[in-house]
Amino acid sequence: MMTVIAARELRKEFTVRVRQGRLRRARRTVAAVDGVDLAIARGEMVGYIGPNGAGKSTTLKMLTGVLTPSGGEVSVCGLSPVRQRTRLARRIGVVFGQRTQLWWDLPLRDSYDLLRHIYRVPAAEHAARLRRCRSLLDLDEFLDIPVRQLSLGQRMRGELTAALLHGPEVLFLDEPTIGLDVVSKQAVRGFLAELGAGGDVTLMLTTHDLADIEKLCRRLLVIDHGRVVHDGTIEALHARYGSRRRVVVELEEPLAAPPEVPGATLVTAGPLRLEYDLTGATAGELLARLAGLAFRDLSIVEPDIEDVVARLYTGAPVTDAP
């Protein structure tokens, strides 16, 4: 697989001044990104998450050539982002959820027309891409309204379209669903899923909404204090931090002694309710062992990624890890 985004020992340091007394200021160097290694192949959809201030946006800004790294090597589409920024800009699309890249005073339609000229996209290609975005993101109702009058959800859909009209190979999305309502989030996610399904566009997404990641990204990179602390699938993260599926059994009549099942840990044993964490057994094996009981209801609770990530961010000990 061809690597599209590569970084080795990527660092970014900022100097901050700290007050010491009335007039004195001390300089302190803070590493926002502290030796990040990345290798992302063409067509991958990667979630890049971390707590506030972990270095996510800073990494993205270095990958797009906006910020100059303090150290390390970085290459995107075979180009050096800072040195070849304007060349790279033609091959990548970027959406910063908290900033607008559209012309505040102009309707979306005019903005898109200007982007076609700026990126020198042939008219037919531009029209075809815009047509696709219009239907998938329902742009038609606000295409002629100035950007400053759009709602956040509408603007975000507009931003996504603007980032895609020049047919980028790599799409960097920095919190694209921030502040959106459920319907807009679904529209954006659905659109990105469809985009990723084509396999041509590499997508790197930072977010605080883990549902974005679960729905879109097979691979997850977790960054904390400027360093990558996890690189793998969501399942691998669950396995590493001891998340387990839970089987909840509601009984018709009370049991004297709940059955012990190998490969499952009984975590709650009420008179009419049993909860097992699967620590090795499958849900099927567990149910086979409980077959003699009279169930009123039964449910399987998937592990919650929010819990795992919260533990990861806060550095809480993972007590139930296998």
């Binding site: 800004k61 797009t64 800072v82 304007t86 800009a89 910063f96 607008t100 005073d105 200007l114 100035p146």
Partner: protein, 259 residues
């Protein structure tokens, strides 16, 4: 360029209000300057007679909005909010992009802000019509150069925001300095040569405003008009190179505000 034109054309009421204000101030300035010239007791002051002075004022009132001496803080605002990131993600150099947008804005101002005072002025005051055909194209070139030069100066004042974040200080200095030394308040030809010549040669300020108006009212013979426009062009090149250097230096130390 189209973006700049379209953006400014969306604010129609502001355009009308601006043109009206320029015209009202045109009357004030014209009466003051004509009174000063009359008080001098000679037919001309610094090569300016009454018709030239009135033309200087009325074209100047329109030109003010075309070169846009003051009131542009877009880059500084975007640096302060961190939105400047979006400028760096375009496949065009930021100086080129801002310049193109500014030329679009100037084109819009030339139609909507230059024309009204120039039409109103001659109804009430004597007007100087150029006698030499070469003056008209030279004036157009001079206005374009002044616009680009003024953009460069405004870009540099705004770009101090990369280092200072708050550009109010440099902006006030620029407003004070450019108003007096570019020739907005009075023709710089009123100044003695030992002040005017160094001002022209060592600063870009007279090239922003005074030169196009001097060219228009034919204060000088053609060779000297040409020489003044060449001097403008030299300043344009110098200031644009400086803009590129400042932008490059700023990008190396850029801290994007607000995450």
């Amino acid at each position: 360029m189209g973006a700049g034109f379209r953006r400014y054309s969306t604010y129609r009421q502001a355009t009308v209000a601006g043109a009206f204000t320029n015209t009202v101030f045109g009357f004030l300035r014209c009466y003051v300057l004509l009174a000063v010239a009359a008080g001098a007791g000679t037919a001309t002051v610094g090569g300016y007679d009454a018709a030239r002075l009135a033309t200087f004022v009325w074209f100047g009132q329109g030109l003010l909005a075309v070169v846009l001496l003051w009131g542009w803080t877009e880059l500084a605002d975007r640096i302060r909010t961190g939105d400047v990131v979006a400028d760096l993600l375009r496949p065009v150099h930021p100086v080129t992009r801002y310049l193109a947008t500014d030329l679009g804005r100037a084109g819009h101002a030339a139609l909507t802000r230059l024309v009204p005072p120039v039409l109103v002025g001659p109804l009430f005051f004597p007007f100087y019509v150029p006698h030499r055909w070469s003056t008209v194209p030279l004036f157009v070139v001079s206005v374009v150069l002044a616009t680009v030069l003024c953009f460069g100066c405004r870009f540099l004042v705004n770009a101090t925001g990369y280092w200072l974040l708050d550009v109010r200080g440099p902006m006030v200095l620029w407003a004070l300095g450019s108003g007096v030394l570019a020739g907005l308040y009075f023709p710089l030809r009123f100044l003695p040569d030992w002040v005017a010549v160094p001002l022209w040669l060592l600063t870009p300020l007279p090239s922003l405003f005074q030169t196009p108006l001097d060219v228009l009212v034919e204060v000088d013979p053609t060779p000297r008009q040409l020489w003044l426009v060449v001097l403008q062009a030299v300043w344009v090149v110098a200031i644009l190179v400086l803009c590129h250097l400042v932008q490059r230096s700023a990008e190396r130390r850029l801290v994007v505000q607000g995450g």
